[in-house]
């Protein structure tokens, strides 16, 4: 059984079909790319998979469980975490606190226990600090753990966002244009990081990207969207040499 199975998924805003009859299958441990020209509906797919938009047709399953129409909070609890195209960090909070928020739902102590500082509060906060520092070390952010998130350089903000998503312990990680705005060196580093996350956490990753170097460098399978419909899908090298795909990207 595939980890993520998308059946005939679609959404219409009024008369406009932003995404139409999308089918996808992502196996566990795969690095899967979703590409397409601007306005093709890629981010809309992510918004449906994370519950921000309710699909108007079709369904999707994570590990065989139908998650269509669930709220973002429920879907995150079931194991889908994401990053955003325009980075959304908790800017006024420390880097450590950003990651700790990803761990928030793993904690069980109540508000009152937080106020009266019960033993469980101390135990869980300590465990959480250690877990968060471990994650920060993976992304080489441990030295800056008490900086405000907004003071990080751009490339590291991207990494922090991934670290925060990973903290929620997902089965599937959705990355929305992780290389946007990065220079070639940062992109190179990011590719290393994404591969490393897949291997270390045995993570399944679905990513949207325009940077073809990154796509051809790390993605194993691709689906190409154009005007909300699937153009083609398959192995990366085959898809990228498909004349239809080249036309869609470069025009006639």
């Amino acid at each position: 059984m595939s980890l993520l199975e998308i059946n005939n998924l679609g959404i219409a805003f009024g008369g406009l079909k932003a995404v139409d009859a999308l089918n996808m299958k992502i196996e566990k441990g795969q690095l899967y790319g979703l590409i397409g020209p601007n306005g093709a509906g890629k981010t809309t797919v992510f918004n449906m998979l994370t519950g921000v938009y309710k699909p108007t047709e079709g369904r999707f399953f994570l590990d065989g469980e139908n998650l269509t129409g669930h709220s973002p909070i429920q879907i995150n609890g079931k194991g889908i975490a994401r990053t955003f195209q325009n980075i959304r960090l908790f800017n006024d909070m420390s880097i450590l606190d950003n990651v700790k928020l990803g761990l928030n739902n793993k904690q069980t102590y109540t508000v009152a226990e937080g106020i009266f500082r019960s033993p469980r509060y101390h135990r869980e906060e300590k465990a959480m600090n250690e877990k968060a520092m471990e994650l920060l070390e993976v992304f080489d952010l441990q030295e800056q753990c008490d900086w405000k998130a907004e003071n990080l350089p751009y490339g590291k903000q991207r990494k922090l966002e991934i670290a925060r998503a990973l903290a929620t312990d997902p089965k599937l990680l959705l990355l929305d244009e992780p290389a946007a705005g990065m220079n070639p060196n940062e992109t190179e580093e990011l590719m290393e990081t994404i591969r490393f996350i897949r291997d270390k956490f045995n993570m399944t990753i679905l990513l949207i990207e325009h940077d073809m170097r990154l796509v051809s460098g790390i993605c194993e399978q691709l689906t190409v969207l154009n005007f909300g419909r699937e153009l083609t899908h398959g192995k990366t090298a085959e898809v990228l040499s498909n004349p239809e795909v080249i036309t869609a990207y470069l025009g006639e």
Partner: protein, 358 residues
């Protein structure tokens, strides 16, 4: 290395909180000593209890406005609920609970819980709103609360309690010899025991501070800030927005209720005191002290509350001067050039001191 870093950060936070607590305690201790030594007049002594309940109001409002990031203009309404519930309880239980301290403590808890409950009830419908809309609706709720209380009539006689809404109770049905007015519409409520003292009020300020600090430094506090900084991202990592907003409203209005109980037990109580002017006044304390900055709220409250009294000598020009000082404070707080200017002076002076020390 890594443990040391996170440890030192937590310690720095704790140290900061202790400094804030120390500022409050030392300020009140010095004020008390000066008053009893006769340096400051009795007028100033009368300011100390109000200062306590205004500080509690300011730091509890800061939890919603500064930490949760929602503009609430109805904080006076929650104070009103606490004040009246506490006052009615104290009046009714005067003979049943002869121990004044115990009665006052129970009134505080009851007033706080009642205000917290109203806070949650109001928060449920307005959670769908954000920004300006939320501000307008909280303003309206604040007004509604005190208007409702202005229309309540409660009388006790030997047959028990008589309650009426919007019109006075017909005196012909009452046993006039044992009749006692408790709530009398828009008229001030009399007969509430003056149980509040400077010491007990100060203790309540300290308790409020500790609770608010502990909330901020726990998973709830982090969630509040996350909702403030980026609601969409908070949702995407599974932070329960509704639950945390209700929690914040409960805690905040609970302490507003406590402040109200202190008010009711140190002043003549009339509901129109809690109109929107009160809510705006508290908001001014919070904004001038700095959103999310608890220590700032406290210091701003101390200065701005004492100011009109200190300026009393200027008589008619008093509120004019108050307004000018408010504006100057705002500019000093927010203007980059002013900030740079002052920090420049500060650096020069501390640099000089170091040279002198050599």
């Amino acid at each position: 290395m890594k443990k040391l870093r996170t440890g030192s950060k937590a310690e720095a936070g704790l140290k900061n909180n202790l400094i804030t607590l120390a500022i409050v305690v030392v300020f009140f201790a010095v004020a008390e000593i000066l008053v009893s030594a006769g340096v400051l007049g009795s007028l100033f002594e009368g300011l100390l209890i109000p200062m306590c309940y205004y500080i509690i109001m300011a730091i509890s409002l800061n939890l919603i406005v500064g930490i949760l990031g929602e503009l609430s203009l109805g904080h006076g309404g929650f104070m009103c609920v606490g004040a009246y519930v506490g006052a009615v309880f104290s009046v009714l239980m005067k003979s049943a609970i002869p121990n004044a301290g115990l009665r006052y403590a129970l009134a505080l808890i009851l007033g706080g819980l009642a205000a917290g409950l109203i806070g949650v009830l109001i928060a449920i419908p307005i959670l769908r709103l954000q920004g300006d809309y939320l501000a307008i609706v909280t303003l309206a709720f604040g007004e509604i609360i005190y208007k409702i209380i202005q229309n309540c009539y409660l009388v006790s006689d030997k047959n028990g309690l008589h309650f009426s809404f919007a019109k006075p109770i017909d005196a012909s049905n009452l046993d006039l010899t044992s009749k006692k007015d408790i709530l009398n519409g828009a008229m001030a409520m009399n007969g509430v025991p003056r149980s509040a003292t400077v010491i007990s009020s100060l203790i309540l300020v300290v308790i409020t501070l500790i609770v608010i600090f502990n909330v901020i430094d726990s998973r709830s506090g982090r969630a509040f800030k996350a909702i403030r900084d980026n609601r969409i991202a908070a949702e995407s990592i599974g932070v329960h927005i509704t639950k945390y907003k209700l929690t914040a409203f409960f805690i905040s209005s609970f302490f507003a209720g406590i402040a109200g109980v202190i008010y009711a037990h140190s002043n003549a109580l009339s509901a129109n005191k809690f109109n929107y002017n009160m809510s705006i006044l508290i908001l001014v304390f919070v904004v001038l002290g700095g959103l999310g900055n608890i220590r700032g709220s406290i210091i701003a409250t101390m200065i701005l509350y004492a100011l009109p009294e200190i300026l009393r000598g200027f008589q008619a020009y008093r509120m004019l001067l108050y307004a000018i000082i408010l504006i100057v404070m705002m500019i000093l707080n927010n203007n980059e050039k002013c900030k740079a200017f002052f920090s420049g002076i500060w650096k020069k002076r501390s640099g000089k001191k170091k040279e002198d020390a050599r």
